[in-house]
């Protein structure tokens, strides 16, 4: 493929994308009509406050499998994974991710369609060394797992 052709492909791709977007703008609103954003929990500035806003205090449960690095090269990007062992913890419909030391501990909430595996990977900001929590809702009850991640300081500038 020579360069000129490649350029055309690229521009065509851009046009396609614009067309797609215009048909999709209405989609998100429809998609989460059923799910309201837990604003109080997102606005909470301390972990216990955020947990309180989600309802009862979560119970630790081995069915919540939470993977985070023991030590993170960079607090701006900390990869996390939440899985649920459905043989011991069935009917999980929500997953919350909280970062204890952040100004607003609640980072994200995921609503899972029923009858599917619970498996979520994302990357979050972690302000400083502390605990990360994965809280899941199963049949209206909250269960959790927590992990400590150490955030290290960078190179020459400290």
């Amino acid at each position: 493929m020579n360069k000129t052709e490649k350029g055309r492909v690229s521009r065509r791709r851009l046009l396609n994308w614009v067309a797609l977007l215009s048909t999709a703008v209405a989609l998100p609103a429809r998609a989460w009509a059923a799910v309201t954003r837990p604003d109080t929990a997102f606005d909470a500035t301390a972990l216990d406050q955020a947990l309180m806003a989600l309802g009862e205090t979560p119970t630790r449960h081995e069915g919540v499998i939470f993977t985070t690095p023991d030590i993170a090269e960079n607090g701006a990007v900390v990869p996390i994974r939440v899985e649920v062992d459905q043989t011991v913890l069935p009917n999980v419909s929500k997953v919350y991710v909280l970062v204890e030391m952040n100004p607003n501990p609640l980072a994200a909430v995921f609503d899972i369609a029923s009858g599917t595996e619970v498996y979520i990977e994302t990357r979050v900001k972690v302000a400083q060394t502390g605990n990360l929590y994965a809280v899941v809702e199963s049949d209206g009850q909250l269960f959790m797992a927590s992990r400590e991640t150490k955030v290290t300081l960078g190179g020459c500038g400290g």
Binding site: G7, R11, P69, A76, P79, R123, L153, G154, G155, C156
Partner: protein, 260 residues
């Protein structure tokens, strides 16, 4: 005491060697947000801009007008039309001026993103062009006397100590298997280290959410060396890139990389 040491070793086996972030990197996978910047760069290349309303398609990056594949891997190089050795960043600014009629005091005024920015045109172009050299052997031109003089100058600067901390490039980059805090430091006087390091820029810096170029990396090194501000496209900048590229010659371009 011995038992204690063994326990420590079992508990934190990775902390003593360079595998300290292996678990972190495994979790990160290979999803590098630089792919967006590659696309943006390609679009900039084919976008008509400036008073001439031209694209950059006629830009000669050393392999002939419009040839982008493999061009990055041969920079810095001498260009007869300007009678100077140029890195890819200054060459792009030159093409914007000559082909598109854009004023270099504008195009070179802010080559790199500042805090809060989300990428510049130059960063995007360089990222795409580096991707156009992915898998290509690093082979900077050294045939012209000015190219060889640039290497010699780069080597002198590499060891030049100055500033309140007496730092030179060599302070951090002339020994193998060292780190600053937990960050591995490449020995840029060593071929293998130089090839790995040079070949992985430009790179997405996770701490900044941005792709950074080799030119930016040098400017930021000098900030940390407590030196004054390195001028974009200056002799020192091009000389050090030449020094690194020649030491890396024979290595493979892997950019854009994914870095802390």
């Amino acid at each position: 005491m011995i038992t204690r040491w063994c326990l420590l070793w079992l508990a934190f086996p990775a902390w003593a060697d360079e595998g300290v972030f292996d678990q972190y990197r495994d979790l990160m996978g290979d999803d590098n947000p630089a792919i967006f910047v590659i696309d943006e760069g390609e679009e900039f290349w084919y976008q008509s801009q400036g008073p001439s309303g031209a694209t950059l398609e006629a830009c000669d990056l050393g392999l002939g007008a419009g040839v982008t594949r493999g061009a990055y891997a041969q920079f810095p190089r001498y260009f007869a039309d300007t009678d100077r050795v140029m890195d890819i960043e200054t060459r792009l600014i030159h093409c914007m001026e000559t082909l598109q009629g854009r004023d270099r005091t504008v195009t070179a005024a802010k080559p790199y993103s500042l805090r809060g920015d989300f990428g510049t045109e130059l960063e995007a172009l360089v990222t795409w062009l580096a991707a156009e050299s992915e898998g290509v052997v690093i082979a900077p031109e050294q045939g012209h006397p000015k190219e060889r003089a640039m290497y010699a100058l780069g080597e002198e600067i590499f060891f030049y100590r100055a500033g309140p901390h007496d730092f030179s490039c060599a302070t951090c980059h002339e020994q193998s298997d060292k780190r600053i805090r937990l960050q591995q430091l490449p020995n840029l006087t060593d071929h293998h280290d130089a090839a790995d390091a040079y070949g992985s820029w430009p790179a997405y810096r996770m701490s900044q959410g941005l792709v950074r170029t080799m030119g930016w990396r040098l400017q930021d090194c000098f900030r940390q060396q407590r030196w004054p501000g390195l001028t974009f496209g200056s002799e020192v900048s091009i000389a050090l890139q030449t020094y690194m590229a020649v030491n890396a010659a024979g290595g493979i371009m892997t950019a854009p990389g994914l870095k802390r």
